[in-house]
Symmetry: C2
Subunit: 379 residues, 2 copies
Amino acid sequence: MEITDIDGVFCNGIKEGKYGLGLVKVKGSIAGIFTQNKIRAAPVVVCEENIREGVVEGIIVNSGNANAYTGEQGLKDAKEMCRIAANLLGCDERRVAVASTGVIGRKLNMDWIRRKAPEVYSSLGNSPENAHRFGEAIITTDRFVKKAHSEKARIAAIAKGAGMIAPNMATMLCFAFTSAKFDSGELYEMLKNAVDSTFNRLTVDGDTSTNDTVLLVSTGKERVERDVFEQELHSVFYSIAKQIARDGEGATKVFEVHVEGGKSNDDANLIARAVASSLLVKTAIFGCDPNWGRIIAAAGYSGADVDERITLSFSDGKEEVFLVDAGRPLGTEEQARKLMQNSDDLVIKIKLEKGAGKGFAIGCDLTYDYVKLNAEYTT
Amino acid sequence: MEITDIDGVFCNGIKEGKYGLGLVKVKGSIAGIFTQNKIRAAPVVVCEENIREGVVEGIIVNSGNANAYTGEQGLKDAKEMCRIAANLLGCDERRVAVASTGVIGRKLNMDWIRRKAPEVYSSLGNSPENAHRFGEAIITTDRFVKKAHSEKARIAAIAKGAGMIAPNMATMLCFAFTSAKFDSGELYEMLKNAVDSTFNRLTVDGDTSTNDTVLLVSTGKERVERDVFEQELHSVFYSIAKQIARDGEGATKVFEVHVEGGKSNDDANLIARAVASSLLVKTAIFGCDPNWGRIIAAAGYSGADVDERITLSFSDGKEEVFLVDAGRPLGTEEQARKLMQNSDDLVIKIKLEKGAGKGFAIGCDLTYDYVKLNAEYTT
């Protein structure tokens, strides 16, 4: 199921070298969640303003240039992007959502966008090829386009994101559409909860981008129970978050950290994040090295209340190897190493004896290719 | 000037493969600062207890095994290390400081330590070779031993530390000696200030170890003015902090981040740390890529009060290339790239227009070798 399988979603995109332009025609109610970085890209500022009334008629996205830290000109350019889309779609420019991703601090090549937008518009449609071209248009260092859907709740989402993925949102653009009927206030509440429990648990390198944008648009009249919708939206975003972790720049393995027995949920989440973000843990996972001491050390500096009574296991979803039992190392490193070598989707379980707090984070390993990709990105 | 040039300091060390043992005979007043990780290695617990009265007669250190997360046995082993040193030196075991560095979660090979300690003791002395052997004994993944001294204040220090260096202390062991006369209370105050402004500004990978230990011992009767001593102690630690950054696992370049115009010093330090810790900044510096957008983005997510009125320059100590002037990109990337290519010691200056706050951090680049070293450390 593609985004174009949602009633009323038409899209297209074009990619030329590092630069891409995507366009969506979609009438509906909308909600958005944006980066918490204090330096907010121009499209974030303009998009948030434009969707304030909860109504949307189009979305325009470019990749290769983030239009971030571009001052007044950047705001003008982001508004012009909306105007270009509005002229093509025949709507008010303040009903267009806009997003950008790419290098920070460079002025948009508006000539290119002006020239390409009519071309993109001319082949707008709702075929799978349209969805494919839109996806290709919005990615940057991504190795693949991220997609997920729920038949049950009639949700389909498409996303980009690979580096600069941190808790408090990923450098990601995610566009989710549904034909289930909700107003923008309901969409916002459900979107916020779903983002908190998925994208905000994701850490690739700890950096938080200037451009993060997640939009949820409702186009139709279908009735879906709210609790069903919430659960399905969570599943769709969870799937995309895992895909982003898997595509973490240079990543070869994705892992989840599950913490229980924390003094509070906040404490448990602090630990999960510290472990998922630790470079020493991430490199050890890359090396299939069950160096659980680094996990314990990360728990120790997480800021959470921690003592040595920790139980720790690695699992691949089928088998679980316990490495530490209530503070006692079990000497099972060789079994854990084999499990790590044979799986690229691991779960680290950490159990404290502090309380009933639970926490969760998603991470990926740190590899030579992360360094390579990021040492050479703008050059 | 070596630590053995300080009156009353005798030492020796031995290294066998990954394992090392060092011993210092030194009578004097002592102060120490230890890791803030909540999981504290056994030697940290025992050392802090033993130096509580501010008097020391010996120091014993092992490398290759951190004796961390080793429960009751670890505490027993750390105490036995002190007893072994005390028996050899002929003093009370509670006057022995102890430190360990290496892999977490493995029991010490006490047999090896018991066997080697008399051998180390038998060649104790105050020659440069003794200092050299002590230095070699305490290093792990370090490419070189860190040393610095002040003739003026009669201070000499020796240290190890390469990975897991974070603000709030490095995974480092640093042993500083002086023949200037101060009591342990004075030593503690001066040590704390010096550590706060040097080692606590250092970030290699954001991880904080379980074993960090900085000791300062006064052995003599020389009179040095307190303000002179403080300044010189700062210089000695600053030099060691830079050496640790330079030896950051796999690092090829070291850099400082200087922030001014922050709303407060705390805010300016938050920004300096966020920039020095950002993987995207660190990989860009490795690639000699003046990708200042990543610096701006890190400032934006640092938690400090930040807006787009930022002035940003790169300097190699001689030449300074401004990249951004009060929010306006200057298009000088090619000059900055050349400067980066020709220097392995860079300064990033960031000026805000928020107030008079100043901040500072020391970092190093992130390279293929960091990943390699840490993916393969325990194997």
